[in-house]
């Protein structure tokens, strides 16, 4: 017992260390490189200098947002993979990203963002996401029972439908709108609004805390629904709440930063490879690892061809995918269940 706890604490400290290192790296590097020593003196000197505003107004918000979104998407992935017992499920599989993107598309095409301001983009994204969540949920309830396979199929189908609708909208929209849509769909951690950043951080930390109430249920669910019931888990309630937590985490993330793929799929697998499949450690480690991973990818995205910025999804896909494939072939384990 003591041994297990020590091992878990070491993992958490290790991942927290990595997260801090990545954050400092991200603070220092950029179009204007600031050495670490200088960062400290700038912080001590206080406001006024250009470097201070670069650090506090440009780089720090991205780091905090990276932690919030990377963490939220990762625990959402952990929850969904645990619940569906399917290693290919990720937060976007349920069609939430498609719904959010559709909401934003409509907003841009109808010109709502010009009337209501930039803040209406995340709001319409969130509304789109919630609509899809409700639709998928409603479609997969049969006789009061949430059918997990139905949930998956509905989600995938709604994903396809919304991406087709987005293409339809893009085909008939004007060039300047097209640019806005594409830019949003590609996803970026650039977010000038502090209130939204704080909101994203709160939501993801809240999601982490709530998901910990279900960590044992998730462990039991890894045996299958009926087995979990035999272990005294109220599976209907648990499935519903887990679905709602995962959906809200994903919905919030997507509506703030757009679609950043791969984090929610790769991070849980990667972390599981090292810390094991016990959700009591998996959730927290995935949160930290997801945050660190996204911040690192974002730092690369804004520095590789600076002053231009690459979409962060490009980096998460290339980097995450290749590291994952490498680790998997090296370790000779098949991940996930079955």
């Amino acid at each position: 017992m003591g041994k297990k706890l020590t091992r878990w604490i070491i993992w958490i400290l290790f991942l927290a260390g990595i997260f801090l290192a990545v954050s400092i790296f991200s603070l220092c590097i950029g179009a204007a490189g600031i050495p670490f020593k200088k960062v400290i003196s700038i912080i001590i000197e206080g406001k006024g200098t250009t470097e201070y505003s670069i650090i506090f107004d440009i780089r720090l918000p991205r780091i905090i947002l990276g932690l919030a979104i990377g963490g939220a998407l990762s625990i959402s992935g952990v929850i969904l993979q645990g619940m569906f017992r399917n290693p290919l499920v990720e937060p976007y599989t349920l069609g939430i990203s498609g719904g959010a993107a559709l909401g934003v598309c409509l907003n841009i095409v109808l010109g709502l963002n010009r009337t209501f301001g930039a803040f209406s983009l995340p709001v319409s994204g969130f509304i789109g996401a919630v609509m899809v969540i409700l639709l998928v949920y409603w479609l997969s309830i049969r006789r009061g029972i949430l059918k997990i396979q139905g949930l998956l199929l509905c989600g995938v189908m709604i994903s396809f439908i919304s991406s087709s609708l987005i293409m339809l909208i893009m085909a008939v929209s004007r060039t300047e709108d097209l640019h806005g849509i594409v830019f949003w769909i590609m996803g970026s951690l650039e977010e000038p609004n502090w209130a939204l950043i704080k909101l994203a951080l709160w939501v993801s930390v809240f999601g982490l805390v709530i998901s910990y109430l279900f960590c044992l249920d998730l462990n039991a669910l890894s045996l299958g629904e009926e087995e979990a019931l035999h272990l005294g888990v109220n599976i209907e309630r648990t499935k519903r709440l887990l679905f709602i937590i995962a959906s809200l985490l994903t919905g919030c993330s997507v509506s703030v930063v757009g679609i950043i793929g791969f984090v929610g799929l790769v991070v849980p697998h990667f972390v599981r490879m090292f810390v094991g499949s016990d959700h009591r450690i998996l959730l927290a480690s995935s949160f930290l690892a997801g945050g660190a991973f996204l911040i690192f990818c974002d730092t690369l995205a804004r520095t590789i061809i600076s002053p231009l910025e690459l979409p962060v999804g490009v980096i998460t896909g290339i980097l995450g995918g290749s590291i994952f494939v490498y680790a998997m072939t090296k370790r000779q384990v098949i991940l996930g269940e079955k």
Partner: protein
């Protein structure tokens, strides 16, 4: 211990079980037999609250199981299902999952007691040596023992098993059933198990419940239930019932179609 009264249940609108009435005494080893699709597994699922009842009630120690919370019920009844799940946890982690119903509200980690109970369950089932092996790398027979160890870690009063010997060779079949028998004898654990192999059921169970087409066809000791007329009627198969020379329990022999025809021709030849 367990009493089932006028039970009727099924899936959606299709009723699978009708008028099921029987009770299980404390410390009994009861076998459930019957053809495929006769409703045996459905009966187990009704006892564990997986499916709702359409009619009747199930009482566990005189309390209706639907008035007992799932968590409390999981501390009383443990189930060994037909297809044990495959995953990558270690054997010990898997057995420790059986402690989940006994977790206190604010408990996050296993206590020392949980580890001791898991340890004991593994040594009883002779799986302690597999402790750190992943579940996916042990053999089918070992896996079945580990699943039983997990059920024992639940510290149940009633153990339900759904075909614990399926897909096992005779060494493991006998090993698993000997284990169940000794748990029943030494610890007074009440056991209900579904068995397909009538001979194993006859050898190990004190009483048998024969289910056919969702109704109880016969309840009683193996000698009473495993009568050739009853078996031929329920299973629609020609059988010969003999006595096991060692245990003097009934022993069922099947007769192949070819043998049957040869027999008939010989009879006709005599005429």
């Amino acid at each position: 211990m367990l009493e089932i009264r006028n039970l009727a249940c099924g899936y959606h609108s299709k009723v699978v079980l009708h008028d099921v009435n029987f009770s299980v005494r404390k410390g009994e080893l009861l076998g459930i037999i019957g053809p495929n699709g006769s409703g045996k597994t459905t009966l187990l699922r009704a006892i564990t609250k997986v499916i709702k009842l359409d009619k009747g009630e199930i009482l566990l120690e005189r309390k209706n199981i639907w008035s007992i919370s799932l968590k409390v019920l999981a501390g009383e009844i443990a189930v060994v299902s037909q297809s044990p799940p495959l995953n990558h946890m270690s054997v010990e982690e898997f057995v420790l999952l059986g402690r989940i119903p006994h977790y206190r509200r604010s408990q996050f980690l296993e206590t020392k007691r949980d580890f001791e109970i898991a340890q004991k369950a593994m040594s009883l089932t002779d799986t302690l040596k597999l402790k750190d092996r992943p579940m996916s790398e042990i053999s089918g027979g070992e896996r079945q023992l580990v699943v039983i160890a997990r059920a024992l870690a639940q510290e149940p009063k009633l153990l339900l098993l759904d075909e614990p010997t399926a897909h096992l060779d005779i060494t493991h079949q006998v090993g698993v059933l000997d284990l169940i028998k000794s748990l029943n004898k030494e610890f007074g654990l009440t056991v209900i198990m579904i068995l397909h192999d009538l001979n194993l059921a006859s050898e190990y169970c004190q009483r048998l419940v024969l289910i056919n087409k969702g109704r109880i066809h016969k309840i009683g000791e193996p000698q009473e239930v495993l009568d050739y007329q009853i078996i031929e009627e329920v299973y629609k198969t020609v059988v010969v019932v003999e006595k096991n020379p060692i245990s003097s329990k009934p022993y069922i022999l099947v007769v192949s179609e070819e043998e049957r025809q040869r027999r008939e021709q010989r009879c006709r030849g005599k005429d």
